[in-house]
Symmetry: D3
């Protein structure tokens, strides 16, 4: 299969990470993978959901939404419809659940970390881009909170990144764009830690059921892809001194 920009089956799309471009969140990342562009913000607020009241632990929750013009056919706003979009609800829950598994919220008191992921442009893989971008924004926010003694100690237990893989005509592919995703018979999202351990896997063989051999190929492809992604993210996070408005980005033709 021919891929845009001559990507090989195991190549990531061009990654770009820009810090603190928009808004007032302690942590904000504009994360781009090819033409998929997502804006991730991390803030903290007093209060926890009712099931944690009195527990003295914190909580983390996430919200995912598409801007109307992020898709070629305009996406109607949930607010206008006064109706939640099922897909957005599902992805919001995935992002919150995955991030909660790598943070330690016992010592921050009854506060809630709010993760907002808004898709500015969608070209496949928005949920994994949001997860990776949200993690990076969380890192920046954590440093902000530590420097101001808003939290007593680091809350991030492990680094996280996410990637999609899929099967088109019996061949596995890494990091599908929208047109590839449309042709894929199966589409899996992997969320892994920096040590390669599994946080979440979610996927379905929408057209035909999948053999476990193919699943194993997908798994290995995802694992290797995430290692690369984390590698670049880390390098960036190290360089980044997070001054408001300053922009750090890694642009490559395509990361093999």
């Amino acid at each position: 299969m021919w891929r845009q920009n001559n990507r090989t089956y195991n190549q990531l799309r061009k990654v770009k990470i820009s810090y603190n471009l928009f808004g007032y969140a302690p942590g904000n990342v504009l994360f781009e993978m090819g033409n998929t562009k997502v804006l991730c913000s991390v803030m903290m607020q007093k209060g926890v959901p009712f099931f944690l009241k009195g527990s003295k632990t914190g909580w983390l929750t996430a919200e995912y939404a598409l801007l109307p013009a992020a898709t070629t056919i305009r996406t109607q706003r949930e607010a206008t419809l006064l109706k939640r979009n099922g897909r957005s609800v599902e992805i919001s829950r995935l992002i919150g659940r995955s991030l909660r598994s790598i943070v330690q919220l016992d010592n921050i008191g009854e506060k809630t970390i709010l993760v907002d992921c808004d898709v500015l442009q969608a070209d496949g893989g928005t949920r994994t881009a949001c997860l990776t971008g949200a993690y990076l924004a969380l890192e920046v926010a954590e440093q902000y909170w530590l420097e101001r003694d808003i939290i007593p100690e680091s809350i991030i237990k492990d680094a996280l990144a996410a990637i999609s893989v899929g099967v088109i005509d019996n061949q596995v592919y890494l990091d599908l764009d929208y047109s590839e995703d449309n042709r894929a018979g199966a589409d899996f999202n992997f969320v892994l830690t920096s040590s390669g351990k599994l946080i979440e896997v979610q996927g379905s063989a929408e057209k035909t059921a999948l053999s476990w051999e193919i699943f194993e190929q997908l798994r290995q492809l995802a694992c290797k892809g995430i290692v690369k992604l984390l590698h670049y993210s880390k390098r960036l996070a190290k360089d980044n001194n997070q001054e408001k408005g300053q922009l750090f980005s890694l642009q490559r033709r395509g990361i093999e």
Copy 2:
């Protein structure tokens, strides 16, 4: 770990399948796994969602809900809150997506198959119980439609069943009940076909990230569990003559 009813780590809970007990759906199954009891109904209606209008193909959609008294702490009705429950939305989408992957809707015209899964009693594994129960109700409904020439030919391409597996204290377990699920550090749901192929896998390591060795143990446990589940379902489906009100059930102490 001690399990209720002395179940071993790889034993299913007691399965009971009752056909056409309640309501007017062409296919209706009361599916019980231990104390988890779900009512699955399958009906067909004219019309398809807007994105299929004019396509002459059909659609399948599913809705999942808990009755208020299905949980020890009463679950508020979504209708009373005028707000969809995020978890229910996510599970509804999983059920619809999985069932769509095993049905062929090209020849039924612009009709929608509606799958309703209502949890009468929840003791862990409600989403997998609903998936298995909904599949069985779909089989009954298909026979009903075929006998009355409502559909021209069989629409079910493959049998499906689903099961949950989890990790507690580094040990893998099949078919978690609610108290086990609460203690589990990781919880995965597998949806497989009768030939053991993968339709959907969805799971997360909520407490600590999981090694791939443990994931492989979970995968094997799930595969074996689903083979047993499908075996019993098939036997029942064969015996079942689907007369309204008649009850077929398989009760065992625990299916090893």
Copy 3:
């Protein structure tokens, strides 16, 4: 007029009462009258509506809903529509109001008794079936609360049952099923105590206005029907020892 199962005009449909089959409510009854099958659950929660805050008295409220497949043409879920169904709201209010008139909530503190009535199969008379079933579930719940000192003394002041009556072609009929209800020019619901006193009457002559002579016939028919209904319910309540999962039922061909 010919009635199904050769019922005479003053015969009830077959009654079946099953205790504690589904869910975790202290009181749960699956109440069946012919093909009408309703599941009634009674739970208690801390808190009262705002207009009782500080009053130290309790409250009782009820919710009525149809499962989608309970009707031959599928009923859309209120949660999906994000809109309350007017008929369900009206019936919920009737059930709550009637039950409140026979309970004494002064001594239970600021707690709310929640009555959930879910129609699993609708064949006419669902609101009266829910009222009768909910009363029976309340009896079971009361015993549960008394045994565990959750309430200091009995709260039920009087027994209650409800029945529908109607007029078809100038002839009165007891306990209409759906097809009879459809043909009826007038349809009344009576809620009475065990001593035959009136709790609520609600009915309308939808096709032509009714003479008071016919109303009197309807009234007498309803009173006699309720006496029978209460008689059977009582007998069952006496036998019932309410162990979880145990099933007590009375099945007759038709109770004259």
Copy 4:
């Protein structure tokens, strides 16, 4: 019991009927009973609910609401809460159902008669005042439609009026005001035709169950009250020439 303005137990409150004071409905009545003041409008629109599409018959529907300042404690707007008020839903349904029973909509084509009842001031008996007022507005609207050939023939089959009755300290009373209603142990609403036939009865013994003897007293009291009410309404309707802005009213100290 002492009643305001020295009313006897079987006296109506002061009635006032003003035609076409507000708005553009073909029929509009400001109906006052004592301090209860309701504004009833009747309009007609093209279209019928989905269940009548293609039937070539018309439909009638009603909506009831309280203005915020109509009660001594301000009533929150349903629009602000984005939530229907259960009581308003119930009363809206009652008004629609009762009026439908006295109109013949077969020959008006697929049109809907919309009845709007807005309570400007509430002092008990708002639902019966709305019913009586809405009927009077319907009469005016019918004349308007007949004069303009909007309907081919009269659609009103029978005159209708409604009144509330109640029991306070074992004594029956006609036409309760708010303070009386609050003290009443039972409260019944009767909707009757001009010939004294029953259209709807709806009531509950909220405090203690009622004997049938008392019910009979209530019934007779209501019947006589409605005869008086219809008598005055008719006299007014005869005089009324329905010019926009003109006001016809009947004011008495209390109609014995």
Copy 5:
């Protein structure tokens, strides 16, 4: 241009002010300008919005709605649609904002003044009629609160009135009715104090952009119109002794 009732371009429509006709608000005004009739009520409640909690100051908020029959084509209720109407939201905010600018709420404690404006009949200029009517109702309410020591001192800093002006065929007009408003290329609403100072101006040139010369003409026309309006309102307020049910009104053929 010919105006109804031979009004000149700078003439107000007939004004009528009736006090305390409907409901239980401390201040209630039925304000009529020609055929536009609005009912304005002012009440006070404990509590303030979250952003004022703990501030010990009060708040004022307003709600605007149309009764369904207030327009020639029936206006659907927001409650039925479960959706706020954008125009109503905008006007509610305008009324609240303007009134807040002339009241001093520092000394009333954490209470909220609720202003309800319900349009009974709409013939253009409903928002300005509501503003003027609401101000008059506020004056009555203030007197009521002062007499009962509900507020320690006067809270109204300045008198307020509002009027609409517009441009039709390059000619400016005062106080447009609905048919004039429909033909107007530009439509401005002015809210002024008794000393002629500006509280709010809001307007748009919907058809063609407006020169500043025309705007100046509109401004002067509005200023003069408001002076007249305030003059009459004041005269009425002085006479008014606010007894419940008593009616004070000023009726003229047209106020030049």
Copy 6:
């Protein structure tokens, strides 16, 4: 008063205009004024609102929303609350109304132009920034539609820009930022055409009523500010060749 970056009272904040950075709209502009950053997209869809069905003319509508992290205190999503935000509704209507006054939609058929304005960062003047940005995006979209014969001829009748002005301590100021807006006693928004004519003015003196002399100063300040803004916008529009992803921006220290 001291202004940030030593701005004089009549200086605009730094303006930056970036074309087609995000999403798939034919016209997209990231418009920045100082720290206020808004993303404006213009798309076209088939269909018009019900009141234009059959008219063969088009329509234009706008939606305004804040991203949660656009404000220092997180703004809750309307979708999460299932409730429209009153301020957003008001601003959406302003943007739609103003843009409609400068477009000619008679010849585009029954299509709707959708204008989406999403605030990425709010520092005062978001509504005027959205109006100016939306106009620029409309220009780009028009060119796109003309080149592809989607519209037969130009639809923009006149150029438009908007600016806020305010009064702080009796001194007028152009283009208020958030901290200035907070201190301002009066705040007006002017929407003008390139020829300096008035499209919309909207403003209120929230603290004390304003003399007409001050209003005149504000008006002149706004007019001059808008001339500058339009000058820069035009220069940019001329240079812009609208290739996807290409960025044109004008950055200055502050435009005097």
